[in-house]
Subunit: 365 residues, 2 copies
């Protein structure tokens, strides 16, 4: 462990969305200041931070001035340019480090890293050079089965940059739509449920993890996270073991989100890692009202070289995202005594936009 | 109830200390912005607010620009100038209103208001004009008893502007030290314990109150607040009834703190109101970790014309203030899994300065 940042020190955060905002609030509770770097002058995180830089992520001069003004740097999204990460790490601690970015911002790197650590993942392959043809399509179905998920290797999120290929028609056209892009083909996993775990590692190698949550998506966007997840205790333990292996394997510092597919029925459940996110994660928002120390505070603690806080859960929670017009119901939600309302201060409601979330305490444990 | 402030609206806060800071964080959770008005460029609340005005409280131009830029105004201290309050209220909702300020910023007004509402208070009187003399002293002892607390009527806090007069010596000198000031003389109350209650009233007249907390002071500064307080259920109910009478009597909107002396032993407990604070209060900080909705969020809800949140308590809490050098122990406190640490981001540790507080969960209920 290096020297802990004392209260009054400043953490730089790349990205000014809701994750940066909730990190900044958590930092403030500990007496730490935040400096937010984001190109959008309307960034939600600006409203709760001590300093702001409005500049493009590839503005290296602005980035350098930002890094020099802070004591450590973290980020709210995994697509930080690796050159920028190198520039930052040469000046100040960057947490999580460049390795986590390199692995997680490219789906192929990520799958190869996981498979290399003997962590179970679904079938995947790449074709290079990739030519959309009937022969390629046939090859893919032979190797990966009747249903294939084709994804761009980089910059995909919330279902963007993804398509389904099915043997019984339309595949070639879909394939052609991705021509010229770096793609990864994944065997469709007929999962019973989707779950995730938020785990955290301090710079001294200390590890902690929150309880596994069960996630339901709608239109490829997270709709609800429910904890406890309806999985077996051994499956929960397996998720923790996988998390520890990934955290150590990446020499990671901070909170990491891991999304899993659960395959097989109760009694024969198995986990496959779907993807990892080197940051706080939407499916960990329940920790704000289900635990004494949230994922946001624990990420800040790790970044600041503080001891990790407890991750044990004191309540059963259902987290519901407020997407687009859902947020127009704020009056009714504010009046619901079971609903802990978290709004992100976004000025404009847009379809598909994450405007806030609600944590409902269903039981105190 | 007037029209509720929608998410994205801005609440103006007079005062940029730790109370303003924690109010701003609570507002952010609800998607509301804060604009802090404070003369101190190092104000802790600046770090978590969307806008800041650094100006003297008597700078009426700065105040007007500030008020015009926000949607409602509140404050973190009761010594807001009544002329300024009038100027604010002419433009935007001021919550709590001027009446609460008028009553609470003058100890004599406050005692007279309480006595006029049949709320039990200790003996008090003023002498006008006040001349320090042996005869005055004798008169005071005759009326108020052997031990008298002399206080300036205005601007006292944390024991400042107070002195004790005892019949058995030194009284005249102490009395002379307050010559030329407006003072109030209070009978010393031989209290068994000190307790307080945080109550909140919405603009529609809805009332809620948190559980009573027992407070221990050291050097006239709050040291610890413990909840539940060691009082009888009927005493707790009496505190709630008194709170309701005060809130309605002031046509109050927001959180109000009421400090009581408990006199008499268990079985014959009686409450006397010591003082009221028209704002969130140090002895209500336990609500951050003992309730789903803290005093800060409920104050913001009331100011923004939102429905009040639940005030029921889910945990037993001991709140300990971190005064001066106590805050140097932040590493050890951060490592204590029972301690929820709240630091105010003050740049300099000074003796007697409130640097933060710790909430220890002693039992989940």
């Amino acid at each position: 462990m290096t020297e802990a940042l004392p209260p009054g020190a400043t953490i730089g955060i790349l990205g000014g969305g809701q994750l940066g905002r909730m990190l900044a609030v958590a930092a403030a509770e500990l007496g730490l200041k935040c400096h937010i770097f984001c190109p959008d002058p309307d960034s939600p995180a600006f409203d709760v931070s001590a300093a702001q830089t409005i500049a493009a992520y590839d503005d290296r001069d602005a980035l350098e001035a930002f890094v020099r003004s802070v004591d450590a740097v973290t980020y709210e999204f995994e697509n930080v340019d690796l050159g920028a990460a190198e520039q930052i790490a040469a000046l100040k601690p960057l947490r999580p480090g460049a390795k986590a970015l390199e692995v997680s911002q490219d789906r192929l790197n990520e799958k190869q890293f996981l498979a290399g650590k003997d962590i179970p993942v679904g079938g995947f392959l790449t074709v290079d050079p990739f030519e959309p043809s009937a022969r390629t399509l046939e090859f893919l179905f032979e190797r990966l089965g009747e249903t294939i998920v084709m994804k761009t290797r980089r910059f995909g999120y919330d279902g963007k940059g993804q398509a389904i290929l099915k043997r019984d028609g339309g595949g070639l056209e879909t394939l052609a739509g991705f021509a010229g892009q770096d793609v990864i083909f994944e065997a469709f996993v007929p999962f019973a449920r989707e779950v995730s775990i938020m785990a955290v590692r301090g710079s001294d190698g200390e590890i902690a993890a929150y309880d596994v949550t069960e996630n339901v998506h709608a239109d490829h966007i997270l709709a609800t996270s429910t904890v406890p997840a309806g999985i077996q205790p051994e499956t929960e333990q397996e998720a923790r073991r996988i998390a520890a292996r990934i955290l150590h394997g990446l020499d990671y510092v901070g909170v990491l989100g891991i999304e899993f597919f659960v395959v097989g029925e109760s009694g024969g459940e198995k986990l496959l890692v779907n993807e990892i996110a080197p940051r706080v994660h939407n499916s960990g928002h329940w920790t704000q009202d289900g635990c004494a120390v949230s994922q946001f505070e624990n990420h800040i603690r790790a970044v600041a070289d503080w001891p990790l806080g407890p991750t044990d859960r004191h309540s059963d929670i259902v987290m519901t995202n407020l997407i687009g017009q859902d947020a127009a119901e704020w009056r009714a939600l504010a009046a619901d005594p079971q609903a802990r309302l978290h709004l992100y201060g976004k000025s404009e409601i847009r379809p598909g936009r994450k405007m806030g979330h609600v944590n409902r305490v269903t039981r105190r444990t």
